[in-house]
Symmetry: C3
Subunit: 424 residues, 3 copies
């Protein structure tokens, strides 16, 4: 559970920061992540064309409040950065209650919680409050103040590149644009940071890219800037919403039959019995962009409760209490397990394919070196049986439902005994 | 429900007529349908070769009864045309009870109802009575009288052809050979008549054929007479048994993977949750002929309760009480919905396929023209995502489970915005 | 049930013999089978190379016991041949209790039963006892005596070859290496013997091989000696464990899509509703060898309770009480039914494929020769409908779920009427 504590501590440290799709909140967030894993931080100027989009102006905010006639701050940005609609333009006016109400957002279905709202692409300002508070605002005049700027600047994103033995790439992506929301998105940020650190300490086949960028425009920016090397992307996962109490949920790639789909489905079915798998759909997180028809990259998505799948989604209740060190550590561990599989998935050829080779005689079956566990015995037979050139280790994993590491061990033993050779 | 009333009124008007596979009952039925929709009425002479068959002699009947020794008519054709086995040869004799019983048909499992029987292809005569009545016939002599003729004549069928923008054809077919039975077959006749009328008021891509003909020999006749143009048949449905209280039931084409199969399966799964789908089988109605191996046309079948799937099937209880205006109107509406889909199903190509195009900027996503409904927003994303040249609108419909008309609207908006083009 | 009595009587006669992978127990067993069906008995010398294996020395045993200090035999081979671990080397020593215990095998989870153990490929000796007995062995010295020999000799197997109209082969295989165990393996031996006898009395399309050989090394030996003709193997089944009370269980071939897989799945789904089907796996019985990647023969496996699927498996409780004449007869009957299907499976071509041919006119539908049963009527239509060159009789069987023999009868009637011709 050490790892869980680290993950939770990171979330706790990042929780107060006012992240948005641009601005100092993201910049500071990425800076803090470099304590865990060094990364390249990219600044992409406002106005840059990225695919069909354009980098927007940079938004920053210092303070905001609503004050009643008695001078009391009835809504204060310093209590919760969710109180201000993200990308609100600056304002300083006095309004009647009715005028004020046209700028207040609440969710009557969740009356105790502040909703999270944004207005990235149309200029506007607004405050978000619990519906309970909104219902009790008395008549009168109100001073509204938002000390924000919306100016030419940059979109900021971070990328950790861990070179492997080949230039073929695996992508992990998490969005960074949400302010004080823990499951969506701090859990993804924390898991990706520690996943990147772990990948750095590993001898990898693939070159791994772990990307921390805002939702939608962030992945569009990364895609625009990496178009020339996308053809070497072999696998990928969007990681998000990994800290709550829900089971792991895999959303498949566009086609549903990529190798990453086979890998994660097999992994979940063998190791995570209560997990869920769903088909691709063109909404959700950044898998939408990776899976758009022009790119159609083999990138799935791993979450716990899917978006809109938990009551606290996009409200002030997506807070530090919603996420647990256990859930975070288990999610990181699952991501690592998936890497172990995809990084080692190969096809082998059985070099003694006519009948079973006599393993006993070679001392690798039962009686030598202590004795092979029953699971290893089965793994030896499965690997021999399906290593006919058609089946990769993931297929053997899926069919045998044995632990992947046992199958890898079996492949190694058989290779050492001259009974197996790797063919790709 | 206006349409339901019209459908039911038509059934009520046609109920008393004595239809068979030939004869004036069918002729009068088709004549009445021309009040709703003009149609070509074909008369095919007795003896004409049609595929492996031959047009039989024409059967007509004017009266029939069984009279007891007191001169009472104990069975009277004027009470129910089901009392006479269809295609009964003329007879006028006096018989003992035992002799009479060899010509009486009843169904002991449904003792209150008169069964429906035919003897089209072997010369015979008979009466049908409820088993309750049959069990009570006392000893004595009986006068049997059937005033029928079986003579050289014609087989009569009707066809409405509604030309479309192409010569490619869609076929709707209903059988017309049953006498006073409401669900089987008047419901199909009524739905087809009003479907044909509705098609005439529509701008259609396909050329539609709506055919009213007797079971088996009728479809065989139509196939024989249209062999040269069958290669342009794209879709079709046999419509029958649509007025009872059962859910909609789709019987797939011979292959189960025709476009009409994908269309109706998607439609039923999205819009008719309690519906049923079954595989092709070589019995039932005229789908047997269309799906025979030499033709293998993409023609499925839509019913409510399938044949033999309801207790009243082929008995006097398949009467005006069994069918409802609600069920009839909903069946017609389903047929129309299916036409809307098959007539407009196309593939499109996303012209900005790299990432999502920024819909907001183009004013078609959320903020312009009032605002797109959440369903339309999803429809826009689904159409963009799957319009990669491989998926047609029906596939998008099936995967998204959104309303088809919303998807069509999305395709139109996107085409108007230059983001989509039709590719077939 | 006569057949069941014969099967059970055979098992009763063979039960006392001490079978192993070599030796006189198997030799005597095969000799007794020749009373039922003549077979070729092969003796393969120790040291012969067979694929990756080598024929082991021949093991024979005459007597064995453990005697306590009072001279009482506390374990006696003459009471149960399971008391001696198969392939035990000779021994005659006096041991303390603790020394003795290192050579005693029991199963604490099944304390009343003697477990069945072997040590074919590493030299050792041992006794097997119930755990209840083992727990009560008092301190003291014990005389252990095993009068066995492990010497150059032969591996013995039997093969019945029943020539058919073609050289294409069907293989039935059962293992013969277990001593006094009834379900595993005497039930398979008995069913195969009577199946071979029945095949001899039949006019067969295929050439049938019914093989009685030890597990693993037996099938490896047969494969090694028949490599040149394996390309003509069309179908096969390993038959074993057929006498207990479990439902029939089919384990598919390596690919799961061989014709034998389609045949047995269809047969079980139509005729044996409580049966089970499982995927191939590389352990179990000799299907492992037939399905190894170098051979990949289309050979499945039919059992009742699969290996390890019943509590008495490989214990003294797999005795005469576990198997019943009813279960044995039903298993033999199922194997015969499967032969009837695979030996006659063909594709036909409908010679009047445009619409349904008018069967009534030809006198084969309803009115002639008495009348076709409703099942035969349906069979006629199914065979006509699917005989388009793509579907074989097994596919028609699966889709129609009619009895296979009715479909065969329909094909024969239609062929006689000139409506059908066989195309392969």
């Amino acid at each position: 559970m050490d790892e869980g504590s680290d993950l939770l501590a990171l979330i706790r440290a990042l929780y107060p920061l006012t992240r948005s799709i641009t601005g100092d909140g993201v910049r500071t967030t990425l800076q803090r992540l470099t304590d865990i894993v060094p990364m390249e931080i990219h600044e992409v100027p406002t106005g840059t064309k990225v695919l069909d989009w354009e980098i927007p102006r940079e938004w920053n905010i210092r303070d905001a409040y609503i004050r009643n006639e008695s001078g009391e701050k009835i809504v204060d940005f310093r209590n919760s950065n969710l109180h201000v609609m993200s990308y609100s333009t600056p304002v300083h006016e006095t309004l009647t209650r009715d005028q004020l109400l046209t700028h207040l957002h609440s969710d009557p279905e969740k009356p105790e919680w502040i909703p999270y709202r944004t207005s990235y692409y149309s200029e506007d300002w607004g405050f978000c409050v619990s519906d309970r508070q909104l219902q009790q605002i008395p008549a009168g005049n109100y001073e509204v103040f938002i000390d924000s700027t919306l100016e030419t600047g940059n979109l900021t994103y971070g990328e950790v590149i861990i070179p492997g033995r080949t230039d073929e790439q695996c992508i992990f992506y998490t969005h960074t644009c949400h302010p004080s929301l823990c499951n969506d998105n701090l859990s993804g940020i924390a898991v990706c940071a520690y996943l990147a650190k772990w990948l750095q300490g590993r001898d990898n086949h693939f070159t791994y890219h772990v990307i921390f960028a805002p939702g939608t425009v962030g992945s569009i920016t990364w895609l625009a800037q990496n178009q020339e090397t996308l053809s070497s992307v072999r696998h990928g996962l969007v990681l998000a919403l990994l800290g709550d109490g829900g089971p792991l949920h895999y959303k498949q790639t566009r086609t549903g039959n990529a190798e990453i789909d086979r890998i994660v489905r097999a992994y979940l079915s063998v190791e995570q019995r209560d997990s869920e798998v769903s088909a691709f759909s063109p909404w959700g997180y950044d898998e939408r962009q990776f899976g758009s028809p022009g790119f159609a990259l083999p990138i799935g998505r791993l979450t716990r409760s899917a978006e809109e799948g938990y009551a606290e989604y996009h409200t002030s209740a997506d807070n530090l209490e919603l996420v647990s060190s256990t859930a975070l550590a288990a999610a990181l561990s699952a991501a690592q397990d998936i890497v172990e599989i995809l990084d080692s998935n190969r096809r082998y050829r059985n070099l003694a394919p006519h009948g079973e080779p006599q393993l006993g005689r070679r001392g690798i079956y039962r009686d030598t070196g202590g004795s092979a566990s029953p699971e290893l015995q089965r793994a030896l037979l499965w690997v021999l049986s399906l290593s006919d050139g058609d089946h990769d280790m993931v297929e053997i994993y899926k069919r045998s439902a044995l632990h992947y590491e046992t199958l890898l061990q079996a492949a190694e033993i058989l290779t050492g005994a001259g009974l197996l050779e790797q063919i790709d």
